[in-house]
């Protein structure tokens, strides 16, 4: 029997979260930044990681809030000016002049490497949210690297928390992602705008569900 009425198939438009506008329009997205040092970058211009698929779209690149760098920066400044302050006190006077000079150079090398290590730890410890998964890249020390990821399908619950005066003033906090995967929890520590991060994750999860229903799963 011929159908009397056949409704048009609904073609759902891909959301802006996982399919951003291209070209100049991309640069007007809220949270998008051209700064490679940005702690919160929505649809970054350049973000590649070892295990990224060619078709995978990086939605959000996160680092710890820049204010968390204050500790090593303070140590750097104290160490940098310490020889000038200590120079007035006769602590190293028992050393010959050339030994004092070399120890000063050594001191500044150590000061520099502490600051550089602090920067590297901040810059390369990132959390990445793509349209397919969540990736956590951690460098714990000079020689220890940990990269873990989980599919968006595995995410069961997203919680964010902000507490304390400094976190409230600078708008940063922790995002806790509970998963059904091998690694039960993912924690994005001290990331900026945790509420927006949770919202982006929710949007991607909804879209992933939609893709599953429509059979568009990659």
């Amino acid at each position: 029997m011929p159908d009397i009425f056949v409704s048009k198939k609904k073609e759902s438009a891909p959301s802006e979260t996982t399919h951003p506008p291209q070209g100049k329009a991309k640069h007007t997205l809220p949270g998008h930044s051209h700064n490679p040092l940005a702690a919160y970058c929505y649809h970054p211009d350049k973000a590649n990681f070892e295990t990224k698929d060619k078709k995978e779209v990086v939605v959000l690149l996160l680092r710890r809030h820049p204010i968390t760098n204050l500790k090593w920066m303070l140590i750097f400044f104290l160490m940098f000016f310490a020889p000038i302050i200590v120079g007035d006190f006769p602590i190293l006077d028992f050393l010959p002049g050339e030994f004092r000079f070399v120890s000063l150079l050594g001191w500044y090398l150590i000061t520099f490497v502490l600051a550089f290590e602090g920067f590297l730890t901040w810059f390369f410890n990132v959390n990445i949210i793509t349209d397919e998964r969540v990736v956590d890249i951690d460098f714990h020390s000079l020689i220890y690297k940990e990269v873990s990821d989980t599919n968006i399908d595995n995410i069961q619950d997203v919680t964010y928390k902000m507490g304390g005066a400094i976190r409230t003033i600078f708008n940063y906090g922790d995002v806790l992602i509970q998963t059904a995967g091998e690694k039960p929890n993912f924690e994005f520590s001290a990331v900026p705008r945790p509420d927006e991060v949770a919202k982006v994750l929710q949007d991607i999860m909804v879209e992933e569900e939609q893709e599953k229903l429509e059979g568009r799963v990659r």
């Binding site: 490679p36 040092l37 970054p44 211009d45 350049k46 973000a47 590649n48 990681f49 070892e50 690149l61 010959p96 050339e98 030994f99 000079f101 070399v102 120890s103 150079l105 050594g106 090398l109 520099f112 490497v113 550089f116 290590e117 590297l120 810059f123 390369f124 990132v126 890249i137 460098f139 000079l142 020689i143 690297k145 990269v147």
Partner: protein, 71 residues
Amino acid sequence: MPIFNIPVWGIAKVLVLIALGLYIVISGVIIRQVQLMIDTLEVGLEMQVKAVAIIHFVLALIVFLIALIIL
């Protein structure tokens, strides 16, 4: 300044040179670490970060040579 015929500053010089030699090794490890980080993640600034690591290595070498010459 020998104490009991032991050249104290000579021993100190050797110790300083050993410490600076170890520091050169550490700065080499830092270059390797930066390369590893860059291979893992590319977000811009890779060249600059690597340049800083290499400059640090060169500075460590220079300080070692200075210590070797003036001490």
